[in-house]
């Protein structure tokens, strides 16, 4: 990737994060009676949010033809495993996809 490609990539990630942060609530409620689950929801929600930003970038690059076959496989595999792990941890704490979205106000 040359400097110009990298700059375009950074700009895209920046605008994606700006779009996401615009949908975040001003306050995040954590139930004092259930701090562990609340904290898990917050952390997992953030990880899932970042994973989705990276996933969108990867899809865009794949469709734009700027990823080699090997890169598509490697990035796809990493994102797939990360998604699986987030779901496993969410299940462990009794959280569903909706919980992660609500806590972070992520757009649907």
């Amino acid at each position: 990737m040359n400097t110009s490609d990298l700059q375009i990539e950074l700009d895209e990630v920046r605008s994606e994060l700006a779009r996401v942060s615009a949908s975040l609530p001003e306050r995040i409620d954590i139930d004092p009676d259930d701090v562990e689950r609340g904290l898990a929801g917050l952390v997992l929600g953030l990880v899932e949010l970042l994973r989705q930003v990276l996933e969108r970038q990867a899809v865009r690059r794949m469709e734009g033809g700027t990823l080699s076959d090997e890169e598509i496989e490697r990035v796809g595999l990493a994102l797939m495993r990360l998604e699986r792990k987030v779901h496993e941890l969410a299940e462990h704490f009794g959280l569903n996809e909706e919980d992660l979205k609500i806590r972070l106000g992520a757009s649907t």
Binding site: V59, R74, V75, G76, L77, A78
Partner: protein, 206 residues
């Protein structure tokens, strides 16, 4: 609803818990109500009856409070925002328009994925569907010529459905909106469009 309006309502099994100019109307339950068809219909009848009397913010089925005090506390904490929502809703009702794809969408392979490429291709297909659904929902809103403030949309809520668009309308505006939705459907090669309502304004109450 506003406390002044709540006095106009026949209690009929409901208890009014008031605070800061607002009243919440609730039914007593021993334990949490089960989400079955009978209970959902009963909930629908109650919210429709309340909204038929005066402007209200209906709750979705299954909002549960331990006792009147906890309901009163929740009301007090949110009174300013709820009063603002009541002003926005005013004496209006909701119509819900379901846009369903005419042809099945390409989703790529479903999970579990055999490799990284399959995973990314499935995500790409879902993103394309999401983009197309947003575009068709935007065309419907243009066709209805409704202010964005009176619209709530849910994109790709379930398999086969492109979007559900909720529209806030005057109480006597249901037939006019239904006709506009029908004319949209006749012109669309992508989706069918069906209007439901009028309903209490569920999508405009937080």
């Amino acid at each position: 609803m506003r406390t002044a309006d709540a006095t106009l309502l026949e209690p009929d099994g409901l208890v009014a818990v008031g605070d800061a100019g607002l009243s919440a109307l609730a039914s007593f339950y021993d334990g949490a109500p089960a989400a079955n068809a009978e209970q959902l219909r009963a909930h629908e009848r109650i919210t429709t009856r309340i909204h038929g009397v005066a402007p209200s913010l209906p709750s979705r089925f299954g909002q549960f409070f331990r006792d009147e005090e906890s309901l009163s506390d929740a009301l007090r904490d949110r009174s300013a925002g709820l009063l603002l929502e009541l002003d926005v809703v005013g004496d209006r009702a909701e119509m819900s328009v379901t846009l369903a794809w005419r042809a099945a969408r390409e989703h790529g392979r479903a999970a579990p994925y055999a490799n990284g490429r399959e995973f990314l291709e499935a995500k790409a297909a879902r993103e394309r569907e999401h983009r197309d659904a947003e575009a068709v929902a935007a065309r419907l809103v243009d066709h209805l010529a409704v202010d964005q403030a009176n619209i709530r949309r849910t994109i790709c809520p379930r398999e086969g459905v492109a979007a559900i668009v909720a529209v806030l309308i005057a109480r006597d505006g249901a037939q006019a909106l239904r006709e506009k939705v029908e004319s949209f459907e006749r012109r669309s090669s992508e989706v069918t469009a069906v209007a439901y309502g009028p309903l209490p304004p569920y999508s405009f109450a937080s």
